[in-house]
């Protein structure tokens, strides 16, 4: 009786994972939470971002982020409670960190992960400058980017948290 039981206990916790290669973690860990933890060194200005946008983004997101064929990035601030809400980065996205995270991992759609950290900071600065969320002379880096308060920062209700309380 005892022997098969011991066998089962010994087999109950298989361990087939290998210690992760630190280089793998470094290459893949691109997610940036609202506190900005993990934002890379470097910086980018609105002026630099404007040039990169004209070269790599405008064909899908339109002049000044007006959209079409891809998502509208700008405008719509103050429309969310109206009959015709316009949901854009400017009007709807609660965190600027999300913009950095998403651009760096997925844009441009034809060449994802091709932008440098420097270019990504610059693009975030430029896009957020269009509606005045950052100033026209802004330079963003790991310190300044998480401090940006997006217009719709307090616009979300945590439905999961609500059901747990």
């Amino acid at each position: 009786m005892l022997k098969p039981l011991l066998f089962l206990l010994a087999a109950a916790a298989p361990h087939f994972g290998q210690p992760a290669d630190p280089a793998l973690i470094k290459a893949w860990d691109v997610s940036i939470p609202p506190d900005g933890k993990g934002l890379p060194p470097g910086q980018g200005s609105v002026a630099e971002g404007s040039g990169i946008y004209a070269e790599k983004c405008v064909m899908c997101h339109g002049v000044n982020g007006a959209g079409k064929p891809a998502d509208q990035l700008t405008g719509g601030i103050g429309t969310l409670a109206s009959d015709h809400p316009v949901k854009t980065v400017s009007s709807y996205w609660p965190y600027a960190t999300t913009l950095f995270d998403y651009i760096r991992r997925a844009m441009p759609v034809t060449h994802p992960r091709s932008l440098t950290d420097h270019e990504t900071y610059a693009l975030v600065a430029y896009i957020l400058s269009i509606d005045g969320i950052v100033k026209k002379d802004a330079v963003l880096d790991a310190k300044s980017l998480p401090k940006i308060k997006m217009p719709n920062r307090d616009g979300f209700i945590d439905a999961y948290g609500a059901t747990k309380r």
Binding site: G17, Q18, A20, S31, L80, P85, Y92, Y95, T98, I157
Partner: protein
């Protein structure tokens, strides 16, 4: 030998003669000996395909978005029976195409707030004990067409086909999280895909640990590339978008990462401008698939009304059918299987008198949730909100034999 002309003449005579002789043996019985019965069939195939006569049963391809692989294809619900979606017809929603991943080089990384960051090869994942369960998957944007001001005329699959159901087999995520050893500060995970979209979603750790399955198999075979080959995350009953395909990274975090697809998308805008976020579970829902949109009725007579019901909260306990704009309801049969977070087939025999009628189905789950009418569903939401639409579908069967999507 009797000629064809004389045979027709004979049959005509026989039919005129009355019902009693209608079953008379045809003059040329050998006409009923078909080529399939007289010619040896084709040899074996290594991987079988549907009959060429079923070529019209296929996914409905939506016009692509910003890149050829951005967008969706939908399951032709009206052509299918039972509850299982054939793998080649499982709906797709991709954000930048279907990657071609070699399982020999694919890795799953678990890191963040863990004692030992670990990487797993696919071969390693295949060595763990497995679980199997039949669950539906539904895109958070499914049935969003019902949010539009005017009813869209389309098939059941065209309106509700971002919905499929399969038997998924794989490894409990909790087992691998335990192996890495989650630190006490770890309260959420971020799951990320290894494709050109690197789609990522935050999931509460407790739920991921308890319910998460790393699915390696779909209906008995290894999951299809369109479903995340070689491994996808399955959160049974949860919004399709966070069942991350081509899963390559899980990071244990202190809180939600606020990824693009849990803030800018897949959040539900209310009338006052606020938006519900982290509303993970697909609500109780049903749709009649037969008869359904764009079908042509065969005139008055017997029909079986049949369709699918499901809930991300649990089991379906009841499906009711109304034929009088919701005034009265009759309970449909559910022959089973009735499984939690799984499509459930319902049926109801129906004698149609040929007059115009609106058919509706309404489902209830074992948590007491009842499917709302379209007006009830829309009430709290902003005009732009279409996610997790579980409004009752109304099909108008017309005296002209048409079946249309209506708002009743």
């Amino acid at each position: 030998m009797t000629s064809k002309t004389s045979r027709r003449k004979f049959l005509k005579t026989a039919l005129v003669g009355g019902a009693g002789v209608a079953t008379a043996i045809p003059a040329r019985a050998d006409e009923y000996i078909t080529q399939a019965m007289t010619t040896p069939g084709r040899p074996f195939t290594a991987y079988g395909m549907p009959s060429p006569h079923e070529a019209d049963v296929k996914r409905l391809l939506r016009p692509p978005g910003i890149s050829p692989g951005s967008g969706a294809s939908q399951t032709p619900l009206e052509h299918l029976e039972g509850i299982i979606t054939p793998n080649g017809l499982h709906y797709e929603r991709h954000h930048n195409g279907v990657p071609d991943i070699d399982p020999a080089t694919h890795k799953l990384l678990i890191h963040g707030l863990v004692k030992t960051p670990l990487e797993f090869s696919v071969d390693a994942l295949l060595r763990y004990p497995r679980v199997s369960a039949i669950h539906f998957l539904e895109c958070g944007g499914n049935s969003g067409a019902l949010a539009t001001p005017q009813p869209v005329q389309a098939t059941a699959g065209g309106l509700h086909g971002l919905l499929s159901c399969a038997e998924w087999s794989g490894v409990n995520l909790g087992m691998l999280l335990d192996e890495a050893g989650v630190e006490p500060e770890g309260k959420w995970i971020l799951a990320e895909s290894g494709d050109a979209a690197s789609l990522s979603r935050s999931i509460p750790l407790a739920e991921a640990h308890e319910q998460g399955i790393l699915a390696l198999f779909q209906n008995g075979e290894r999951i299809r590339p369109e479903q995340g080959y070689p491994v996808r995350l399955l959160m049974p009953g949860w919004e399709g978008n966070l069942n991350i395909k081509w899963l390559h990274r899980i990071k244990v975090t202190p809180g939600p990462t606020m990824a693009k697809d849990e803030t800018s998308k897949y959040s539900q805008s209310l009338k006052d401008g606020k938006a519900r976020q982290f509303n993970f579970i697909q609500p109780v829902k049903s749709v009649i698939t037969r008869p359904s949109g764009n079908m042509t009725m065969n005139g008055p007579g017997y029909y079986e009304i049949s369709g699918l019901a499901w809930s991300g909260h649990g089991k379906i306990t009841k499906v009711e059918i109304s034929m009088d704009n919701g005034a009265t309801w009759v309970e449909a049969e559910m022959p089973g299987p009735i499984l939690p977070k799984c499509l459930t087939r319902f049926r109801l025999p129906w004698q149609w008198d040929g007059k115009a009628v609106v058919l509706q189905s309404r489902s209830t789950d074992d948590q007491g949730n009842v499917q709302p009418t379209r007006d009830q569903w829309k009430a709290p939401y902003s005009s732009a909100q279409f996610y997790q639409c579980n409004a009752i579908q109304c099909w108008q069967v017309g005296a002209d034999n048409t079946v249309k999507n209506v708002y009743a």
